[in-house]
């Protein structure tokens, strides 16, 4: 295609302006993608020259080349990508000179004219001028680590040593890339050593202690580390091919040497053609990425902006977008980039954020040092103690995302900043969703990670339903909905997009705000609230149940009040949980899990009579499954007759109070945990809340009732009760936190009253206490102040309000059974007595269960044949 020797004219058939891109590395390639995305590539004749023989590949994951990936799989595009988009790609053809006067470039194969030029030549590894043994064969004493070809050379060098017993490789340079190179040597079967000039590893990103911790971890992995070693010469070795002599008189023998002593911007072409160059190299650019020649841009690692070279891909990508923008008429200035990094080096987590060295005036540091596990964490805080400005992490990057958020978004620090870097088992104040690592699974049904969600958001997903459609998250069991929403909103916010926290299209308020309105204005019906503060004229399946729950926790009127009925979710409306086939489960309350033989027999009799599947639940009670709508009233009247009440298994309300047997029977028990569980369950039964509430009471510290996994957990002590709050099992388990110790019975109940009412007042819709707590400004300390020290002066009010709810309690099922109007609703068909003929059960382990579709199909065949 190229005609050498004369002025080759790619795109000779067009009269379009000619754009030449020098370099087909990561940034150069990204630039092409941006051209294509904005469509500018169609208005230009684009030609790209790449010195390497491979088309642009993922240099960041270069090391995976030794881990089994080949050049093709590292490629950033399909081989016909440029072709398909009308871009001419010349690989293995380096540009050797630029004639700015004539606006031409010379390559190893020809000459080409340009109208505009983009330099994306990246950088090259710096090899310090150390006197090195002259060799005739390809030297193994000056290898570098930057390109696929470099890696081939290292591999060949290693293979040529195959016959040796001990093969050793040294990497000069203990920075980020040096450690990667050392890992590569190790994976090739070499004994790997790292020689670093500075007194610690990763001197740029880490402080002394961080470097030290990293060093210990890396040594534990079998890589030898030599710090404060300046190599003076490389001579012939005795047992190995070479010997490296150090300035302090020490020496080290090795078979190959890889230099990773830093990178230098590849600015030769720019320098020789007279473009402005920085003092220590780099093509000078302004904020539109123009060089000193208005027709030449520079992007990526070869560019010097504001005296800075950026050795990471992300800033290079931003520059590429800026130039693509300039060419399409919407130039967005480049304004620097954050150099925080998070990596895994030889399997060791390393993170560096912002001002890691505490260079800012007056900066104060918190440090966590784990000498046993070689872990290190440092948090750097501004002089006034208000903001985090930097951090260093070695050994565990799970803190990274949260800390980065604090630094980047100037989030106000918690009262005890050190808690951000302390081990997380202590119930650290995490930033909710944001504390989850990218790899955390959000939706287990569809195996969607937080990373995938972030990506979708990055890709422009800006409403929840679009996000669900794209990632499939939350389209299975739906159990992850709340977490998904949290992550999603968090992602939007972290991108500076305002999150609409309106409950739904009918109310531009949050649940908390609506709660306040209902209380302050004394509103007692949905209609009244909607009329005064809502939009549209009906409400929907989001706001109706939410408002019903608010009304219930404020006034606790029976949910079967005619005006409340249409508000309820179907489960609340029919006071039972709908199952997958449209039948219901029936869960009578069994407070504390204590039950008499007579009551057990009564449940058994009902289950038998109505042919219900029976199971002991995880909440210490009994669930009867498979009742049809029209059977519910009869079933309940029999249960109530036997002394049962509704268990509210259907509501966002108090579920169970799990108990252990306690000191009545157990030889270790120190209090009567069953009696306390009964007191608690009877007090809070029927309480409606933003989400379900679970409690437990254990009779001693052995904790057989698992109180520390509950919203409210109580554990007996010699002197009374310890109270734990905001625990959660379920999807994202969270240990409850110790809230108060050695409380007497009365104080315990008062404290729980206040805690629960404060939660009900301030939590978001469908927010469990654990999530509420993680999002609570001021954290546990604040909660203690409000509840225990009454800092808001709300204590009495919260207690009174709880007492009101407690006094209003009435078993909903008992109420409904007395009212024929209400019973009208419990008809499968309003005009026919028959049951739903599509509900078909088969027997398994002597109990009924819903027939599976294939079983139904075969039954149908039997009937018809």
């Amino acid at each position: 295609m190229n005609a050498p020797d004369n002025l080759t004219a790619p795109h000779s058939d067009t009269a379009l302006p000619r754009l030449i891109v020098i370099g087909n590395g990561m940034v150069g390639h990204y630039f092409l993608e941006q051209l294509i995305e904005t469509g500018v590539h169609r208005r230009l004749a684009v030609t790209v020259f790449g010195e390497e023989r491979h088309r642009a590949y993922d240099r960041v994951h270069l090391s995976e080349y030794f881990g089994g990936r080949d050049a093709d799989s590292l490629s950033l595009s399909e081989s016909d990508y440029c072709d398909l988009n009308g871009i001419e790609l010349h690989l293995d053809e380096a540009v050797t000179a630029i004639d700015r006067e004539a606006k031409r470039v010379t390559t190893t194969r020809g000459e080409y004219a340009y109208d505009q030029l983009v330099l994306a030549t990246g950088s090259y590894p710096f090899v310090p001028p150390i006197p090195t043994l002259e060799e005739t064969t390809e030297s193994h004493a000056a290898l570098v680590y930057r390109t696929l070809d470099d890696l081939d050379r290292i591999r060949n060098a290693a293979e040529s040593l195959a016959e040796r017993d001990i093969r050793r490789g040294v990497v000069v340079g203990g920075g980020l890339l040096g450690l990667e190179a050392a890992n590569a040597l190790k994976s090739l079967g070499l004994e790997a050593h790292v020689v670093e000039f500075a007194p610690r590893l990763m001197p740029v990103q880490l402080d002394d202690q961080g470097g030290d911790a990293l060093r210990r971890q890396i040594e534990a992995l079998g890589v030898a580390v030599h710090v404060e070693r300046a190599t003076t010469e490389i001579v012939k070795g005795e047992t190995h091919r070479y010997r490296m002599n150090f300035a302090d008189g020490e020496w080290l023998e090795t078979d190959l040497v890889v230099f990773s002593a830093g990178i230098r911007p590849q600015d030769r072409l720019a320098r020789e053609s007279g473009l402005a160059i920085g003092e220590r190299g780099g093509v000078v650019i302004d904020e539109t990425c123009h060089t000193s020649d208005p027709d030449i841009f520079a992007i990526g690692e070869c560019a010097l902006w504001n005296g800075q070279i950026f050795g990471l891909v992300a800033p290079g990508y931003t520059m590429a977008r800026t130039v693509a923008g300039c060419l399409s008429g919407t130039c967005e200035p480049f304004s620097g980039a954050d150099m925080s990094t998070k990596l895994k080096l030889l399997g060791v987590d390393v993170g560096s954020i912002g001002d890691a060295h505490a260079r800012t005036e007056g900066a104060v540091s918190y440090r966590f040092i784990d000498e046993a596990g070689h872990g290190y964490r440092r948090l750097v805080v501004s002089a006034d103690g208000k903001r985090a400005i930097g951090a260093v992490l070695v050994g565990d990057n799970s803190y990274y995302d949260t800390l980065l958020q604090y630094v980047q978004n100037a989030i106000k620090l918690p009262a005890d900043p050190a808690s951000l870097i302390l081990p997380q088992s202590e119930g650290t104040p995490l930033l909710g969703a944001d504390a989850l690592p990218e790899t955390a699974t959000i939706c287990s049904c569809h195996n969607v990670s937080k990373g995938a969600i972030c990506q979708a958001v990055e890709g422009g997903c800006s409403d929840l339903s679009a996000l669900k459609a794209e990632t499939k998250a939350s389209t299975g069991c739906g159990g992850c909905t709340a977490l998904l929403k949290q992550v999603f909103e968090h992602e939007l916010e972290s991108r500076g997009i305002e999150v609409d926290r309106s409950l739904c299209e009918h109310f531009a308020y949050t649940r908390q705000e609506l709660y306040g309105i209902v209380r302050v204005e004394g509103i007692r019906s949905f209609e009244a609230l909607h009329e005064r503060h809502g939009k549209g004229h009906l409400g929907c399946d989001i706001c109706k149940p939410a408002v019903a729950s608010i009304l219930a926790s404020c006034w606790n009127e029976p949910i079967m009040e005619p005006s409340l009925v249409p508000l309820q979710d179907t489960n609340d409306t029919f006071m039972a949980n709908m199952q997958k086939n449209g039948t219901y489960s029936v869960v009578p309350r069994i407070p504390g899990g204590e039950i008499t033989p007579d009551k057990l027999i009564a449940i058994g009799a009902v289950a038998k009579k109505y042919d219900l599947y029976t199971k002991i639940t995880g909440g210490q009670r009994i669930d009867l499954f498979g009742a049809q709508l029209h059977e519910l009233p009869e079933i309940w009247s029999e249960l109530i007759e036997a002394g049962f009440e509704t268990g509210h298994a259907y509501g966002k309300s108090t579920r169970t109070v799990k108990s252990c047997v306690g000191n009545t029977w157990c030889r270790y028990g120190v209090q009567d945990s069953v009696a306390m569980a009964l007191t608690i369950e009877n007090r809070y039964k029927g309480l409606r809340s933003p989400h379900k509430l679970k409690f437990a009471v254990s009779g001693c510290t052995r904790e057989c009732a698992e109180a520390q996994s509950k919203d409210v957990g109580v554990i007996a002590t010699e002197h009374g009760w310890n109270l734990y709050v905001c625990g959660n099992g379920g999807m994202r388990p969270r240990h409850a936190e110790l809230f108060a110790t050695d409380l007497d019975d009365e104080t315990l109940l008062k404290t729980i009253d206040r805690f629960l009412m404060f939660y009900i007042r301030t939590a978001d819709r469908l927010q469990r206490t654990s999530v509420w707590r993680e999002n609570l400004d001021g954290g546990l300390d604040y909660l203690k102040q409000v509840v225990l020290e009454d800092s808001l002066g709300l204590g009495d009010e919260l207690e009174t309000q709880m007492q009101h709810v407690v006094d209003q309690y009435e078993c909903e099922w008992a109420g409904a059974l007395k009212d024929p109007e209400k019973l009208k609703r419990f008809r499968t068909f309003v005009n026919d007595k028959r049951a739903d003929p599509d509900i078909i059960a088969v027997s398994e382990r002597d109990q009924p269960r819903p027939a599976r579709p294939e079983e139904i199909a075969s039954l149908a065949v039997e009937v018809t044949s």
Binding site: L538, G582, R827, V830, D838
Partner: protein
């Protein structure tokens, strides 16, 4: 609104159509289910604006996503100005007006034309619509 119709049995053919149930069987702003020749019809009664009368909507009770007959027990609401019912199982929304699923274009519930005939709720027949 005055009615002269005598209470007639369900399924009985009246002049207006086929009788399903009575006004008293309905629950305003919510649904009930009527049986009709092997079909299950979810009937929703929505107070129509300022007037005291109820608007009737009828869609199939069968939820295509879960395969269960539950639509009549869904919560009724408004989405973008359209009346919808949310399936109580996996919460997809269906427009009451034409049964169209909001989340999935390919799903639509069958609809029935209903009207009041005095206090009766009747299923209009093709021919009765033509005559009306």
């Amino acid at each position: 609104m005055s009615t002269t119709a005598t209470a007639s049995a369900s399924g009985e053919r009246t002049k207006a159509g086929i009788r399903l149930c009575t006004r008293q069987d309905l629950v305003p702003n919510s649904g009930v289910v009527a049986w009709h020749e092997g079909s299950q019809i979810a009937v929703f009664a929505i107070p129509a604006g300022a007037s005291t009368d109820l608007e009737l909507y009828a869609v199939d009770n069968h939820d295509p996503f879960s395969g269960a007959n539950v639509i009549g027990r869904g919560i009724v609401g408004e989405l973008g100005g359209e009346l919808v019912v949310a399936s109580p199982i996996y919460k997809q929304h269906f427009r009451l007006r034409d049964g169209q699923c909001v989340e999935d274009e390919s799903r639509r519930l069958r609809c029935w034309p209903l009207a009041f005939d005095g206090d009766d709720v009747v299923l209009l027949q093709e021919d009765s619509i033509v005559r009306a």
